[in-house]
């Protein structure tokens, strides 16, 4: 199938449609606007619904309703809007409802700006909302991978009855790249016997709920969730390794910063410097298996992020003190420059960094 040029934001929309998503609820925000614009046209073509909500608080609760009714459903936003959704996300996780939430991260905190950033890593992977819950968090690094991961995002959310977040940024959303979208096939949607769709023909009562008023019951619910999360942690860690064979230093980066780190690795290798890249594709569960696989052979890790150091905590936890973990980051919507990362690599290899 021929390649076409596609914008990242539009690829999210097309990927969702091809994954069988037929419901989108959202509220405008930059830098993800092309996604709602795309779906406002595309959803009617496939008999789906695009509905603009009056706020992100409303969007996420519309998602709650549609997910409880058994639909493949999604919403999308950026930092400020995702913050407003946190209550709803906690409810979705508590009620074990599948859905996909897209965050095209922008510079923060507060209103910040609309430039690309990765500063919502903590919010996505460590909670964000209240209570003891986890999101599955996917981080594509190209427009092609966005399309591919949208399918996985919906499948994972249904498989585990858990919200999945796809995290990109302004660069991934705005850029156009060649993609192969493949032939449209009929999405296979799993049965959802738990959905509360009415007691037609005397069906047993279903309840979509996150209230467990008796502490013993709420604890049991938490234990059940924890078991599910452990299973996800065991089965779903994903990462890409790039030129890690024989590497003494491994860069760890996701999304846009991973693209840049790849070119840094190439520059280093050309100069004979033994440097590789580990690119987490799942941010939760964090690919600690990937780190563990390298821990004996490498001398150090350098985490590169578009924030002031968030994922580095997971890299450190995974390295568990066995090897030093360094950090390089740009914040507030700035994109790291390959040359600067390269200089940082050299500094560390020369034993210069503290």
């Amino acid at each position: 199938m021929a390649k076409i040029l596609m914008k990242g934001n539009e690829a999210i929309g097309e990927g969702a449609v091809r994954a069988g998503c037929r419901y989108f609820f959202g509220y405008p925000i930059t830098p993800q606007s092309e996604l709602p614009h795309y779906l406002a046209k595309r959803m009617p073509e496939v008999g789906g619904l695009y509905l603009q909500a009056e706020s992100e608080v409303a969007s996420i609760n519309m998602v709650f309703g549609a997910a409880g009714a058994g639909a493949r459903v999604m919403t999308s936003s950026s930092g400020p809007g995702i913050s407003l959704m946190q209550e709803g996300i906690s409810y979705l996780a508590g009620a074990e409802l599948p859905c996909v939430i897209v965050n095209m991260i922008r510079g923060g905190p507060g209103l910040g700006n609309i430039a690309p950033a990765q500063s919502d890593y903590f919010q996505a992977t460590k909670g964000g909302g209240h209570g003891d819950y986890r999101l599955i968090v996917l981080a594509p690094a190209s427009v092609q991978e966005i399309i591919d991961l949208m399918q996985d995002a919906f499948d994972l959310s249904d498989k585990y009855r858990n919200p999945v977040m796809l995290m990109g940024d302004g660069v991934l959303g705005q850029m156009m790249e060649p993609v192969e979208i493949g032939a449209e096939r009929k999405a296979e949607l799993p049965e959802k016997p738990w959905a509360a769709t009415g007691r037609l023909k005397g069906k047993e009562k279903k309840l979509i709920n996150s209230l467990y008023i008796v502490p013993e019951n709420c604890e049991a619910h938490n234990l059940k969730l924890d078991k599910k999360y452990s299973g996800i942690k065991e089965a779903e860690q994903r990462w890409e390794e790039y030129r890690t064979e024989g590497a003494e230093m491994v860069l760890v980066a996701f999304g846009t910063s991973a693209r840049i780190c790849k070119s840094v690795v190439d520059i280093c290798r050309e100069e004979g410097l033994p440097v590789g890249l580990l690119r987490p594709i799942t941010l939760w569960p964090f690919p600690e298996k990937g780190i563990n696989g390298l821990i004996e052979s490498v001398k150090s890790f350098l985490t590169v992020e578009m924030n002031m150091g968030q994922m580095i905590e997971d890299v450190k936890l995974s390295a568990n003190g066995k090897k030093p973990v360094f950090f390089y980051g740009r914040a507030g919507g700035m994109i790291p420059v390959a040359r600067d990362i390269y200089n940082e690599v050299k500094k560390i290899l020369n034993g210069g960094a503290a």
Binding site: L5, T30, P31, I114, G170, M175, M176, E177, K262, V337
Partner: protein, 188 residues
Amino acid sequence: MYEGILIAGFGGQGVLSTGQLLAYSGMVEGRHVAWIPSYGPEMRGGTANCGVTIADNPISSPVVSEPTVLITMNRPSLEKFEKVVVPGGIIFVNSSLVNIKAARSDVRAFYIPANDMAEEIGSGKVANNIILGALIELTGVVSTGAVEKSLYEVLPPHRHNMIPVNLKALEAGAGLAREQKGTLAEVG
């Protein structure tokens, strides 16, 4: 091969679609390509620009912060972006609308009266493609054949009647570049 091309002008001058055409042509040639616009409220006030990367290797950041080629369709763009071009890079200046010269001496500057030439050809709308023609002639970043093929893809069918004049524009730009290449003292 690596070219990072920054195209800048007023909104409405078609700089975004010209960039897309170029990226599409690179894709047709089997290269790695990326296109990215400036976006958001920085667009208020009516300027637009986009970066196009065409390369043999996978593209790291699609943001073209150090262009090898700069196309400026208006004066503010030249003033704003001239300084970020890599030494030895190329600047195309739409001299129909820009009445100043590039100040740098370590880059090659080509002055192309794109709007005037486009009017001569018969459509003011193809000014960008005049410069595109010159760019292709000078850098060989894509072939004219690839652009022609891409025009069929990026233009909606009811506008395919515009393809001949677009091709004429490419050729006119290429012709001018050939002339200028001969006479222009290599700077830097």
